[in-house]
């Protein structure tokens, strides 16, 4: 499952559609989150909040280099070391270097989609470090040797029986399919890791330019563990996660958990400012912050810059009819769903991801759900245009579109085409196969245009 690529989206999706357990899990999960999300939104003015949130995010994108500069200065002053990584490879190298110079053997890791983007775990394991994922969902898929299928609920595709069998096999626990029991097994196994880890690695939901702080939203408490128990903490985040000031945070505290899981607020919001200082009894003695660019400085200059407003809540995927049907793995890269289509094609290039632009019905549900008003539908359309202009549309489609273009310019040719399709219909049906032409209605004997008086 984990080795699926974006180029194979159609095959991946066709396989996913036939997987009954997956579809059942996806439907149940996305329905539950969807209901909770709409309930939670009733207590706030969603329209006003998202307007405000969108404006704050645009302010940052309009002045991104200045905000990065400001954040770096403030975080450094607070005692953190800030590193800039141009791409995934250099981020991984920087982190491995920090771990090596601190003689680290075992790392406890909090949930971070950016580290999935850079394939950090694989890199660190190759370098000989033991990396333990500590978010329950991430822990499950790490044990299973898979990748996340949802940016917030990584093991959304697994049912309790599968998790029970996995824990029995990998942890030697007695088989149970009670989520309560399974969670306790993970708590016990991971507590020991937290207390003995030489370093903690986390992501961050936001970075505050004014104070140099990192902001992390978590529910389980593992994010708090990895950022405050081990002596060394490394945070990896992408450059656009910055908010101007602490005063902007309440807006996102109201929007992010509601959009993501339908909670009023996550159990924990940690605001971390620098390393442990004289007289402190909390905090890592050494804090490193790795700011990943990976193409974002270029994206912010282009016509899809608004994609970088995204705060990774997952609301767009939970409402997407395609995502809800095929799940996250079919998309073949780190980010699935509508935001994933746009980010994957922007960050990895059209050559390796162009089939993804078809993974949308353009229904616009994602636009309505997005808490920061990213115009996802328009951006998916823009990516479709890019696919054509960069020459990645399938030959048959390009040819068909050219023929159709020529035909609609000439009424004579068009009406000839209409008749031709009528005559050849039974042949076309067989040629195109049941799945293509077979799903279209049979052409009318006399076209509508000719029945007009």
């Amino acid at each position: 499952m984990s080795s699926q690529t974006s180029l194979d989206f159609r095959t991946n999706a066709a396989g996913a559609v036939k997987d009954g357990a997956l579809r059942q899990a996806m439907r149940q999960a996305t329905d539950t989150i969807g209901t909770k999300r709409s309930d939670a939104m009733e207590s706030v003015d969603f329209t006003a909040l998202r307007e405000k949130a969108s404006a704050i995010r645009m302010e940052v994108l309009d002045n991104l280099p200045a905000y990065i500069e400001r954040f770096t200065t403030q975080a450094t002053q607070a005692g953190a070391s800030v590193h800039r990584a141009a791409d995934a490879g250099s981020a991984n190298t920087i982190i491995a270097g920090i771990l090596k110079s601190n003689n680290v053997r075992m790392v406890a890791k909090g949930k971070s989609m950016i580290s999935e983007e850079t394939h950090l775990n694989a890199h660190l394991e190759k370098e000989g470090f033991e990396v333990v994922e500590t978010d329950l969902g991430e822990y499950i898929i790490q044990l299973a040797g898979e990748t996340p299928s949802h940016i917030l609920v990584p093991a959304i595709h697994k049912n309790r029986q599968q998790v029970g069998r996995l824990f029995a096999e990998k942890l030697g626990a007695d088989y149970s399919e009670d989520p309560q029991v399974l969670t306790k097994i993970a708590r016990k196994a991971l507590r020991e890791k937290f207390l003995t880890a030489d370093a903690g690695i986390s992501g961050a939901n936001f970075a505050i330019a004014e104070s140099g702080s990192l902001v992390i939203f978590t529910n389980e408490g593992n994010g708090r563990m990895v950022t405050s128990v081990p002596p060394l903490h490394i945070a990896i985040l992408s450059i656009e996660k910055i908010l101007p000031s602490l005063a902007d945070l309440p807006t996102f505290m109201r929007l992010l958990p509601r959009s993501a899981t339908g909670q009023m607020l996550t159990s924990y919001v940690s605001i971390l400012t620098g390393n442990r200082k004289e007289g402190d009894a909390t905090g890592a003695r050494e804090l490193h912050i790795v700011l990943l660019d990976n193409g974002r400085s270029e994206i912010v200059k282009g016509d899809c810059r608004e994609m970088l407003k995204c705060i990774r809540c997952g609301a767009c995927m939970n409402v997407c009819p395609v995502y809800r049907t095929v799940g996250g793995h079919a998309y073949g890269w780190t980010y699935p769903g509508p935001m994933g289509i746009v980010l994957t094609t922007l960050l990895t290039g059209m050559a390796g991801s162009h089939p993804l632009v078809d993974a949308s019905t353009l229904c616009g549900a994602c636009n309505d759900a997005c808490p920061v008003k990213v115009p996802l539908q328009e951006m998916i359309l823009k990516q479709r245009v890019r696919r054509v202009s960069e020459g990645f549309s399938p030959a048959g489609v390009s040819m068909g579109m050219r023929l159709f273009g020529a035909a609609v310019k000439s009424p004579l040719l068009f009406s000839f085409g209409e008749r031709l399709v009528g005559w050849l219909w039974s042949l076309l049906r067989r040629a195109g196969g049941e799945n293509v032409v077979g799903r279209l209605p049979r052409p009318a004997k006399s076209p509508f245009s000719r029945r007009m008086p």
Partner: protein
């Protein structure tokens, strides 16, 4: 009802909704009684014994331990609370170990009623100058929904959170 009473009531309502167990206590005697009732016969108790309220609350010194990592319960005064979200706030200021609210499986938070802010904005407005190294906003016990979106309380952090407004 004065404005403050309304804020306290909203705080208690929202905290209870986040699955915290809420209590009110008037004065030292009630606080002491409440804490010993909540802590009951559970194992080792950690209490920083820094503030007056903490010294009052931890009357039963026999079961106190100095290492929060091995304690079953932490009893402590927290630095603030927020009514809008029903949250309590733990800060690393004054040498406080914020992990004490994380490692033990039961957290008992004492909230002075004059430290409850109405909204998130009111709370953050107080931090214009400097932030402590660690500022943690806590809303209910530790939880997950990672297995089939089934809510399970008590993952890596406390499975029970008691809040006493004094």
């Amino acid at each position: 009802m004065s404005v403050n009473d309304a804020v306290i009531a909203l705080f208690l309502e929202n905290a209870a909704r986040s699955a915290a167990v809420v209590h009110r206590a008037e004065g030292a005697e009630q606080l002491r009684a409440k804490v010993s009732e909540i802590v009951g016969q559970e194992g080792d108790v950690f209490c920083p014994l820094v503030t007056e309220l903490e010294k009052t609350a931890a009357a039963d010194r026999a079961r106190l331990v100095s290492d929060y990592a091995s304690a079953l319960v932490t009893v402590e005064e927290v630095s603030a609370a927020i009514a809008e979200t029903g949250s309590i706030v733990c800060a690393s200021s004054n040498g406080k170990a914020v992990q004490a609210s994380l490692l033990p499986s039961h957290h008992v938070a004492i909230v002075p009623c004059d430290r409850i802010f109405a909204t998130l904005d009111d709370f953050f407005a107080g931090f214009a100058a400097a932030l402590p190294t660690n500022l943690t906003i806590i809303t209910g016990p530790s939880r997950t929904a990672d297995i089939e979106l089934n809510l399970v309380i008590g993952v890596h952090g406390p499975e029970r959170l008691d809040i006493i407004v004094v």
